[in-house]
């Protein structure tokens, strides 16, 4: 790239400019995957910040054993809305919607996804669903108070606005299905010449596996939510024991979707990490095939383990044994990935820049989340920690320390490519360090609390749990401070920072081979791929 071009890459060029329309409609009606990706990014990340605010309020209430900050009803609404926002509005649509859309078509050498208009429609469905959920907070008998799991019988009986919230989640599920459908077709049909399955970047591989889960598991969520609506509006009684129904069947249906859904959350994160680690270790990825294959293995095996959420619900011992066994099986492909990342690092020339720091913390936090998951997956130990803060700690390690940190890693890794400018390195590292420390102080304390018997979803607790709860709340403040520093620095950089250049990190995947920011059609002419995604012999040092 010539230095003249290097002088002015910024949000003025590339896909930011060349389009027929102008103003807001050039965004919200755009079918360009990059613009849709940014729409998803702004909306999902916006909801992440809302969710964080709610999480901090929960922690504030839990700072002291008998807080007078709020009543039980408000607390129930808070953790419900926090969970719904984080799960359905941030982490599930976030990674495929934002970074999948931004990066995946470029990584496979395509001009766009297979169905660009459907892609836009997905985003609109997401926004409509989000609107319905927001409406449910401020109308009727107040926000839902069931927990994000909408368990019957309570969800069928409570007078709060569950119907509307469920309808919103249903709509978002539809959006997720269409994204999955679009991505599978795109990856099958639009790979550039020479982009064989064996040369697919691992982020794209992870999206491919994710897309199958989105496609096949989400309809089960759809029917489950529709059944809640039927219970509430028609009185079908299918989950009502007094009329022959069985609430356990609701739990089965719910987790048939919602366990695979945790892989919708984490798989793309694993893909991000698989792309970042080799670039910053300046070494080809170790075990490419196994990482790609393990994504598919996770997607497949992960659909058979849902029962581990129900060990205490009254299943047969045989069922408990089988689900427990299968849960241990899924740990294997996850471990394969961790070992391969660590092997990639071995004797690499590691540069600890912000994306890498977030990726490395992903490995550690995800491993803690995964191993504590085995404690929950083993029936005997689960009986003790079920429905305690141990569970809350565990899933935050996976969903926040894992998927969330990967999302932030992706922000630092890829956003400069699309905005054309980059953030300052030092504040990014300070932000990361605070987040990392705060995160562990917060959730490790909660796991210990859970082991001691502190139940989840309680607004008051016994005084003996007070000290660690105080520590956890302080941790949440450190975490929030780090988040603020990270954000201010990132966004100031993206709009006013130094030009990023075409290939700031020395990556070898296709997105780094085109100008920054990419043009609307991505490639001037369709690329012909001649080497693998982690073949660094042809990219110079950054």
């Amino acid at each position: 790239m010539s230095s003249a071009e290097q002088a002015q890459p910024c949000t003025e060029g590339g896909f930011w400019r060349d389009t027929g329309r102008t103003g807001i409609t050039s965004w919200i009606f755009s079918t360009d995957h990059k613009r849709i990706g940014l729409l998803y990014f702004y909306s999902t990340f916006g909801f992440f910040l809302v969710g964080v605010m709610l999480g901090l309020l929960i922690r504030l209430d839990l700072m002291t054993p008998a807080s007078t900050l709020m009543g039980p009803q408000t607390y129930n609404a808070l953790f419900t809305v926090h969970g719904v926002v984080m799960i359905f509005l941030f982490i599930i649509p976030g990674m495929p919607g934002a970074f999948g859309n931004l990066v995946m078509p470029i990584q496979i050498g395509a001009r766009d996804v297979a169905f660009p208009r459907l892609n836009l429609f997905s985003w609109w469905l997401y926004i409509i669903g989000a609107g319905i959920i927001l409406t449910s907070l401020f109308t009727g008998n107040g926000p839902p108070d069931t927990g994000w799991t909408f368990y019957v019988p309570f969800s069928a009986r409570t007078s709060t606005n569950v119907s509307l919230a469920v309808l919103g989640v249903f709509t978002i599920g539809f959006s997720s299905i269409l994204t999955g459908l679009n991505f599978i077709t795109t990856i099958h049909r639009l790979r550039a010449e020479g982009m064989t399955w064996g040369r697919l970047p691992l982020f794209t591989w992870s999206l491919y596996a994710t897309a199958w889960i989105q496609l096949l598991a989400t309809p089960v969520l759809g029917i489950t939510l529709a059944l809640i609506l039927a219970e509430r509006l028609l009185g079908t009684g299918l989950f009502d024991p007094t009329r022959g129904g069985d609430p356990i069947m609701y739990q089965h249906l719910f987790w048939i979707y919602s366990h695979p859904a945790v892989y919708i959350m984490i798989l793309p994160g694993m893909g991000v990490v698989s792309d970042i680690i080799p670039v910053f270790a300046r070494k080809p990825i170790f075990g490419y095939k196994m990482i790609a294959f393990s994504s598919l293995a996770i997607a497949a095996a992960g659909s058979l383990v849902w029962g581990h959420h129900m060990f205490t619900s009254g299943m047969s011992d045989t069922a408990i044994l089988v689900f427990s066994f299968l849960t241990f099986i899924v740990a294997i492909p996850s471990a394969i990935k961790v070992f391969n990342w660590v092997s990639t690092l071995y004797k690499g020339s590691i540069s600890l820049e912000a994306p890498m720091l977030f990726a490395l913390s992903f490995i550690l936090l995800f491993s803690i989340g995964g191993l504590t998951g085995l404690i929950l997956g083993a029936a005997a130990t689960d009986i003790h920690v079920h429905d305690t803060d141990f569970v809350v700690g565990h899933f935050h390690y996976v969903m926040f320390g894992g998927a969330g940190f990967a999302f932030i890693a992706a922000m630092h890794y890829w956003l400069p490519k699309f905005y054309g400018r980059r953030y300052a390195e030092k504040p990014a590292i300070v932000g990361w360090a605070l987040m990392f420390v705060g995160f562990n102080v917060l959730y490790f304390s909660m796991m210990v609390l859970g082991l001691k018997g502190m139940p989840r979803r309680y607004y008051h607790y016994l005084p003996e749990f007070a000290p660690l709860n105080l520590v956890a709340t302080i941790g949440s403040w450190i975490l929030a401070l780090g988040l603020i520093i990270m954000l201010v620095n990132l966004f100031r950089g993206l709009f006013r920072g130094e030009p990023a250049g075409d290939n700031p990190w020395g990556g070898a995947t296709l997105e780094w081979s085109i100008p920054t920011p990419p043009a609307t059609e991505n490639f001037e002419q369709e690329p012909v791929v001649t080497h693998g995604p982690y073949d660094f012999t042809r990219t110079g040092e950054p």
Binding site: A114, L181, V220, I223, G244
Partner: protein, 198 residues
């Protein structure tokens, strides 16, 4: 921006969508299986209240409609526009008759006091109420699909009439027909489960 055309891709997308539909209904079939094994006698008793004549007629109608949809696809390949339109019209007509039959059937059942949360079912054994709730949900969801499929085919017919869909570019019609076959296929499972085997 030059739109590139990829019929194979479009069909792949449709097939993927059909899988999601199977899983959507799968949830209801799963409940059916579990509750049937729990309440075999109540299900049998409730099943006797079903109108097999209506069910059989509707099965015949849907199979005919599927055949007509397939005829439309083979006719468009030979550019026989009139035949395409007649076939699609026939398919949509079948859909309408199907729904009308359903209306008659449901009216009869409701007038006998069989509907979710009805006093008659509340007084009877719990298994029967489960059966009827499942029946109404499954058949209702299927009916909704008949409605969507019929609307879709009307839209396709309009495109055929306007000449947008023709022998050189008919993936839209193919996908519409595929969807219709799925609607038919799901009924082929519903019919024996609710009308015949109990």
């Amino acid at each position: 921006m030059s739109r590139h055309r990829d019929d194979t891709g479009a069909k792949l997308g449709m097939w993927l969508f059909l899988f999601t539909e199977l899983f959507l209904f799968g949830g209801l079939f799963l409940l059916y299986a579990v509750y049937l094994s729990r309440y075999p006698r109540e299900f049998a008793a409730a099943g006797r209240e079903m109108h097999v004549v209506f069910g059989t007629a509707n099965t015949a109608i849907l199979i005919t409609s599927s055949m007509l949809a397939a005829t439309a696809v083979s006719a468009i390949q030979r550019d026989e526009r009139r035949r395409v339109l007649w076939s699609l019209g026939g398919t949509v007509l079948c859909a309408a008759i199907f729904l009308f039959n359903k209306y008659l059937e449901w009216s009869a059942e409701i007038s006998h006091g069989f509907y979710p949360n009805s006093p008659r079912l509340a007084a009877g054994p719990p298994g029967e109420s489960v059966f009827f709730s499942l029946y109404y949900l499954t058949v209702g969801l299927h009916g909704l699909h008949v409605l969507i499929g019929g609307t879709l085919l009307i839209w396709v017919a309009v495109r055929v009439r306007r000449g947008v869909v023709h022998s050189g570019d008919y993936v839209l019609l193919e996908n519409g027909a595929l969807y219709w076959h799925l609607v038919d296929l799901i009924w082929i499972f519903i019919f024996p489960l609710y009308y015949l085997i109990l």
